[in-house]
Every structure is written in C-alpha cells, then in structure tokens.
C-alpha cells in the first residue's frame, strides 16, 4: 500500500504513508463489511426464488407478485415523506443559517439535532397513539369533499392509520437529519461569495439563490439521500403506525394501504419459519437494490455539479 500519487512528486514521509494507508484500510474495512452483508443476503435469498409460492403469506402466484406491492409501498411512502420533508427541511435550514438572529439560530440548531435522536419506537408510539386519531377527522373531510380525486377515494380509514399518516411520521423523522446537514453546508458558504452578491445589490433571496444554494447543492443532495435512506429503511415506526394490506393503491386515506419492505419484515419475521424467512430476507435484498439505485442517481446528480466543491 502506497500513498496516492501526488501531483508534484514530493519526499515520501513515513507519516504520510501510514496515514494514507490507514485511510485506505478504513475504506477496505467497509468493503469487507459490505461483502459480508451482501453474501449473507444473497445466500439467504436464493431459496426464496426457488420455493413454491404457495408457502408465502397470502399464497401469491409468484414471488414477484408478493414483492410488487411491498416495493410500491416502500417507494411510495418514502416519496411522500420526502415530498413533505424536503421543502420544509430546506426552509428550516435556511431560516437557521440565514434568517434567524444568530443567538436564536444556535439554540434552534441544537434543538433540531436533538430531535434526530428521538428513537423510531417513539415516533411509532406518537404516530399511532396521538397523530392518527387527531388527523382522522381531516381524512373524513378530505374523502367527503375531495373523494373524486383518486388520492382520496373512499372508503375512509376509521382509525387514521393510513399511508399519509406514515408519510407524515416519516417526514417528521427525517426532517432533523436533512435540516442538520443542510444547515452545516449552508453555513460553510464562503462569506466572500455572499458579501459579493449583496454588494452587487442582490436581495437576500437572490444572494441565497446565487451563492448559497449552488454551493450547498451537493451537500443538500447528500442530506436528502441520508433522509431517504432512513425513510426507506425505517422499520418500527411504520410497523406500529400503518394499517397494511397486500395492495397496490395510491389512495392516501383508506383503510387498505400498501406496506413497506422493512415494516413487513418486522411484522412477519418473529412468527416466520422455514423458507418464509428466506422470502423475507429476499425482500430485504430488494430494498437494498432500490436504495442503491436511488443513491446512484443522486451521486450522478452531484457529480455533474462537482465544480463547486472546494476540494478536487
């Protein structure tokens, strides 16, 4: 293991070799861990594709018919959560970094960070016990008055445990993550850029649009991806809040909601045995693939704007 090639050939120091070696070793360690998880997932998933589909819960015609609603539900819930969370999170991040008085901003930033620590079980307790009953009348109103929109098609849920409630809970969960990282990135905007924009007569919003947002964009995308990762992988909160069914439906307020892969694993794993365990792990593998695809897309988006990064 040698140090990465420097642009100008410099004297090789022991410290550099050790340090870059350690950095590379850390990267290698990640590779090892991931290989382990991947081997586990793939090895355990293979039987799922070979078994008789009748052994799967709900007796679907094939494994894919079982997975379909789960994949849809996972992506749908996460997309809804992002749709709610991202504009709000960016708003808060900007508020803290560029709008709020400095003293207030520090306190707020600190509080938001803390909320990232609320365990998912608590979001589950809150979502199922407090949010769902309080929001149910609003769903009744939506279905009564806007039932012609496919999203609010009747019947209405009697308990409020719908995918929209889950999306709200997930959005509240990922808000602190997206906010915290975006705020740090916005705060790193070079003061000179901001001052230059203001000096040219830009309003505050124009300054943010021209200096802060382009600079922070890769970081914001990273933050959103971390949030999405949590939304896609969230287990307990979804399991506790959602009223699930094996359906593909875009209705936001009904009693039958598509469920998500991790919640489905959590709900069925304890009582699962035999090859059904493999089926559940195979759905985990699929979730893995979904997250990876989404992440790759984001990386691609960041790579296009790499010029703004400080380092090379």
């Amino acid at each position: 293991m040698t140090a990465a090639p420097a642009r100008i050939t410099a004297k090789r120091r022991l410290g550099d070799t050790l340090f870059s070696g350690a950095a590379l070793a850390a990267g290698g360690f990640i590779l090892l861990v991931l290989a382990g998880v991947a081997i586990f997932l793939i090895a355990q998933s293979i039987p799922a594709f070979l078994i008789d589909p009748a052994e799967i819960k709900g007796q679907p015609d094939s494994f894919w018919q079982y997975v379909g609603p789960l994949v849809f539900g996972t992506v749908w819930a996460a997309a809804l959560a992002l749709l709610i969370a991202v504009p709000i999170a960016l708003g808060i991040a900007l508020f803290i970094s560029h709008y709020a008085p400095r003293r207030l901003a520090q306190g707020l930033g600190y509080t938001i960070d803390l909320l990232a620590a609320v365990p998912s079980v608590v979001y589950g307790l809150w979502g199922a016990g407090v949010l769902a009953p309080s929001i149910q009348p609003a769903y009744v109103w939506l279905v009564d008055n806007l039932g012609w929109i496919p999203l609010f098609a009747p019947p209405v849920s009697g308990t409020g445990r719908t995918i929209l409630t889950v999306a709200i809970v997930l959005a509240v969960m990922i808000l602190p993550i997206i906010t915290a990282l975006s705020r740090e990135v916005f705060l790193q905007t070079p003061k000179l850029h901001e001052e230059a924009a203001l000096a040219l007569g830009a309003t505050r919003w124009e300054m943010i649009r021209m200096a802060v947002l382009p600079f922070g964009r890769p970081g914001v995308i990273s933050a959103i991806m971390l949030g999405l990762g949590r939304a896609l992988g969230e287990t307990m909160a979804v399991a506790m809040v959602l009223s699930p069914a094996a359906v593909i439906s875009i209705v936001l307020t009904g009693p039958q909601n598509p469920t998500t892969i991790p919640a489905n694993i959590a709900l069925n794993y304890p009582e699962a045995h035999g090859s059904y365990v493999n089926v559940l792990i195979a759905t985990g593998l699929i979730l893995f693939v979904i997250t990876f695809a989404v992440n790759s897309a984001a990386r691609w988006a960041i790579a296009r704007r790499k010029d703004f990064s400080g380092a090379n």
């Binding site: 709000i88 079980v121 991806m225 992988g233």
Partner: protein, 361 residues
C-alpha cells in the same frame, strides 16, 4: 384586500423611498389573521357549526403571504416582492415544522417526566419487578455500552474513509468506496441485525446474544452516516487552506490533521452526533442480536444485554395487567434516551468548540 389601503405612504425620506416601513409585515399579518378569523367566526355563526380556529389560522397565514407579496410588488417592485415571499415561506416552513416537533416533544416530556422522577427509574433494573415500580438502569447501561462500542468502531473507520475519499482517493478505488457507502446507507436496520446474527452464530453457535454483537450491527448502520456527513463537510474546506499549508512545507497528513479536520470539526461533530442519534434509537437489530433481559449486565461480550429502545418497545408491546405502569415506563425510557443524546450533544459541542479554529462566523 383591505390591507392595501394602509400601504401608500407619503415619501418623506429619499433613502426609504419605495421601501415599505418595517412594521408593515406585522400589520399585514394582524389584519390577515383578523379577517380570516372573523370570516370563519361568521361562517360558524351562520351554519351553527363548530368554530375551526386551526383552519382559520392556516387560511389567515396564506392570506398574509399573498398580501405581503402583493403589497411589496406594488410598492417595492418584483425582486423585493419575491424576496419577501421567500422570507415568509421560509418562516412558514419553520413554524410548520415546529408543530409536529413540539407536539412530539411535549408528548414525550409530559408522559415521561413523572416516572423518570419517581426515584427508582434511574436506580433500579426490572429484575423481579412486576407491575409498577422498577427502572431502566440496566437498559441505560446497556445502551451506553452498546452505542459506545459502536461509536468506537464506527467513528475512526468512518472518518478515515472520509479522509481517504476527500484527500487521497482518486480513480477506481475511491469510486468503489463511494458506491459501497451508498449501498450501505440502504441497509435496512433489521437486515443489519440479521446479518450480524448470522456472523456471530458462525463463531458462537446458534442463539448467541451479546451486547457487542449489537454494537457491530449498529456500526453497519452508523459508518455510512459518519462517512457521508464528514465527507461532505471536508469537501467544503477551501482548497486555498490546503495549498497554503503545502506551500509552508507541511506534510499532507499533518495538513489533514491540523488544517482540514480542525476547520471542519464543527460539521464533523454534527455528523457524528447525527450518526449516534441515528443508531441509539434502533430497536429492530438490537432485539435480534443483543436480546432482552430484566437484569443488569455490564459485560458486553457475554449474555443478553438490555437497551433503551428495546426497553421502550417491550414495555409497550407486552404490558401486564397494570398496563399504564408499563406505558409510563415506555415514555420515561424514551425521554431518558433523548436526554442522553442531549447530554452527549452538549459535550460534543463543547469539545468541538474548543478545537475548532476561530473564524469570522
């Protein structure tokens, strides 16, 4: 639009010409709210329905945003109007987000405080406790040990990987690692638990449960968060700083430890705290690999170890006849978890404050 009547004002000072007075948004907001609340009140009087003040406030807020934009557009022109519009939207986003966050926090604090303060909660375990009483000391110790060990594994690995990606990584290897870290963010927590269990079962036999296995499972979830957040922050360190350091003949590794890391320490601390916050509340993997017990266990390398999320979950899911005592303990456990993170956060902030260079900000 009743509010419009107030807006035109005799120009007295050429510096403030074409600008709205500072009190303008406040007055507009008050008028918008009054109009909306009044309208809703009249409507509720008319059809005898209930006075829906939540909806009225929301309509009032929307009215304000529109009026504020419209007035500014008339007086100050389009650019200023957009500026004002965005300002109101940013503040609205903030207020909107505060609602669930405050609601959630209040729920936890109100439900959790009485039990947390009852004297036994922080000094007892659940061993030989049935019904009311007992405490979560075993879970607190377990959570601290398990998360602490996870941090000991994850933070060096994660930080060094980020350093590699930002400072050394070029070509295939860096791309591969970036790719893998991305994949890792996608591991659902329950899968991390299952995989860790499979690994430990290889060495220790079926049915193995130990706190350390929980740490390993949490590390799988924690490392990518550390890498991604610290990578983003380190990338933002201006190249001028690095180049200045190299120009003074400072070796690369000293540049990293003395310039890059200290410059980004605040952001890295946030990232690390986020990652701890992300895993300290994980239930599913710990339920699988660290197990469940009602007794104290200080040894993370043998036998079952309780953790706070598992404590909260089991108290909620399988309560005894006196269910309220169990739910109270669940809320108190959740509150304890939040307080632990608050404490860790405070310590980390202080530490990062002393290590970060003093900048203009």
């Amino acid at each position: 639009m009743t509010a419009v009547d107030n807006s035109p004002r005799t120009v007295v000072n050429s510096y403030t010409a074409g600008k709205l007075p500072r009190w303008m948004p406040g007055v507009t907001l008050a008028i918008a709210l009054l109009v909306s609340l009044g309208a809703f009140w009249l409507m509720s009087m008319a059809d005898g329905g209930e006075f829906n003040w939540i909806l009225a406030t929301i309509v009032g807020a929307v009215l304000f945003v529109a009026a504020n934009w419209f007035i500014a557009r008339l007086v100050e022109g389009g650019r200023q109007a957009v500026n004002r519009l965005v300002t109101s939207l940013v503040i609205a986003a903030f207020v909107l987000a505060l609602i669930p966050l405050v609601w959630l926090t209040l729920t936890v604090v109100v439900n959790g405080t009485p039990t947390l303060m009852n004297g036994t909660f922080l000094t007892s375990s659940m061993r030989n406790v049935v019904g009311a009483g007992g405490g979560a000391l075993h879970a607190i110790v377990g959570t601290l040990l398990i998360t602490g060990l996870a941090a000991v594994i994850s933070i060096p690995v994660g930080l060094m990987t980020a350093v590699y990606l930002v400072e050394y990584g070029t070509g295939k290897m860096a791309r591969a690692i970036t790719f893998l870290v991305d994949v890792m963010t996608g591991i659902p927590s329950i899968v991390a638990g299952l995989a860790t269990y499979a690994l430990f079962a290889l060495f220790f036999g079926e049915g193995v449960r130990m706190g350390f296995a929980g740490s390993v499972a949490l590390s799988i979830l924690m490392i990518p968060v550390v890498v991604r957040s610290s990578e983003e922050i380190m990338r933002l360190v201006p190249n001028e700083l690095r180049e200045a350091s190299y120009a003074l003949g400072v070796p690369k590794w000293r540049t990293i430890t003395k310039v890059v890391l200290p410059t980004s320490v605040a952001g890295i601390t946030t990232g690390v705290m986020l990652s701890i916050a992300r895993v300290i509340g994980e239930t599913a993997p710990l339920l699988i690999v660290a197990g469940f017990t009602a007794s104290m266990n200080y040894n993370p390398f043998s036998e079952r170890m309780m953790s706070l999320p598992v404590f909260v979950y089991t108290q909620y899911v399988s309560p005894g006849t006196d269910a309220q005592a169990y739910f109270d303990r669940a809320w108190a456990g959740a509150l304890t978890l939040i307080l632990i993170v608050a404490l860790l956060n405070a310590i980390a902030r202080i530490v990062s404050h002393y290590f970060s260079p003093k900048l203009g900000r």
